[in-house]
Symmetry: C2
Subunit: 297 residues, 2 copies
């Protein structure tokens, strides 16, 4: 066998390609507010579906289907399901956050170019349940991997994706004629966008903050101490890696982010002082002075 054919094939990508992969992950957003009316080309959509279809699946089961929903009337019905579900969820939120919850823009069902429902056919591997005897939910998890592939490929293509989970699943199944043995995993709003927000909307609006990664690392058992060098490396790398991966996105990189005033649909007031505080906090978590400008791009 010629030498060239036995060369090791376990190498990583070159730096620029590695950066591109991280950049998709760090700049991906759950898009609700920035959809454009532009149609989405089949050429692009087909590539996103191809990416989804190359997700890992338990027992190579490939349990997914992709329902493309374009009809405006059907989408209006889905949006009604969302609105009803939001009212049902609201009382479960602690009282002091209910006003904020009400103001959050949580879907772009009607204004995105199209919707896609990614489903999981639970019977696709009947008779060959490799890897599912003890963990039957593995087919659902495989389908989620397909969703995440779709989402990352979309970011690379400049296509926004928003996952709507505030919806009653039985009502959705009924509306989309999804049979009993099939589970809808993700209802996605998909389309071109005016921008990818510099941070997750829920972080911007004060619903939550990114947790410090070192706090999430455990050693040997749950809660196990140890891995001090790894934690310290994770802290140190945080700003640097995000910075490098996102460098290509820095066509517009103000040190302090400038944004248009929020539109009515996402009507939370944008408090730049809080924004700065959050950035400073992140910078201190990351142990890197370069973090704020970077994560905000």
């Amino acid at each position: 066998m010629p030498e060239a054919m036995t060369a090791p094939m376990g190498d990583g990508f070159e730096q620029a390609a590695r950066d591109a992969v991280y950049r998709a992950m760090f700049t991906r957003r759950d898009v609700r507010s920035h959809f454009l009316p532009t149609p989405l080309e089949d050429e692009v959509l087909a590539q996103l579906l191809l990416a989804a279809h190359h997700a890992p699946s338990v027992g190579f089961m490939q349990p997914w289907n992709f329902i493309v929903i374009r009809d405006a009337a059907r989408r209006a019905e889905v949006r009604d399901l969302f609105l009803a579900a939001r009212e049902q969820e609201l009382p479960a939120v602690v009282e002091e956050r209910q006003a904020l919850y009400r103001k959050l823009k949580l879907e772009g069902i009607c204004e995105s170019a199209l919707n896609i429902c990614i489903t999981c056919d639970r019977e696709r591997s009947k008779g060959s349940p490799l890897g599912r005897w003890h963990n039957p939910e593995m087919d659902l998890y495989s389908t989620v991997c397909a969703v995440q592939n779709f989402w990352l490929a979309a970011r690379a293509e400049g296509v926004g994706v928003g996952w709507v989970s505030i919806i009653e699943p039985k009502a959705l199944k009924n509306l989309l004629s999804i049979p009993e043995h099939v589970t809808p995993i993700a209802y996605l709003c998909v389309g071109r966008v005016s921008e990818f927000a510099p941070k997750p909307d829920l972080e911007t609006h004060g619903w939550g903050r990114r947790l410090p990664l070192p706090d999430l690392i455990m050693s040997e058992t749950f809660g196990g101490q140890g891995e001090a060098p790894l934690k310290s490396t994770a802290s140190r790398l945080n700003g640097f890696v995000v910075e490098r991966a996102c460098a290509a996105d820095q066509r517009v990189a103000p040190a302090v982010p400038q944004r248009e005033p929020p539109n009515e649909a996402s009507a939370l007031s944008f408090n730049s002082r809080n924004f700065d505080d959050a950035s400073a906090s992140l910078a201190s978590q990351a142990g890197s002075g370069t973090w704020p400008a970077m994560v905000l791009k």
Copy 2:
């Protein structure tokens, strides 16, 4: 506000960066057989964890933890759990596939550099269950997105990942002291590899084949016909997109794949005729004569 600061930020990546993202997806493998004894640097592992930590999460809940397991004795115990579970799963497989099932190499627990258990803390967003009232499993799905980010970043870094799902979850929880309210989502074998196989092992060994993407696309409702142009585009793009994205991996690209004889651990005989047949079938599915050489790299 200066012009530069209001420039549109909704663009996609340049071609090379888009290709890198697809390449990670198309060449990612569920690795069982090719782990090397090489240790994995904290610098690299920290980046993979950073990628995982930037996954989307419902309500920005970030429910994940990462248990790093290095201890050889503990890993041997996990492997014993796998071996027991495999014996339990076997009778569920249809009889004519049991011999094949027995021969499949399905984990690299002890021979990989380290193991990571990614868990989901189901109580992390107590009091603020945004997006989980109707779909409480969304936190589990968020954690799966973190797994997929980890996996893709690992591919880019030249690190193999294998997800072991043939394991009794209660026994695993017990072994890793995982509390009741935390769900182990993925038990991963992680480390440097000698190669990333040209195709999924289960495809190579005849357990399954990649389904034709157009068959998985539906229109408006489950089973809905339509989307003919999209399906046709998906067919046409298949070989082409995979080819372009994987071009950088073609340092060694025989038209018909050459592989070392399988080692004892992955002892299925490699039948190159079947392999060719599978390639031909894929090529006809893809409607592209260039597919076989490409998908096999």
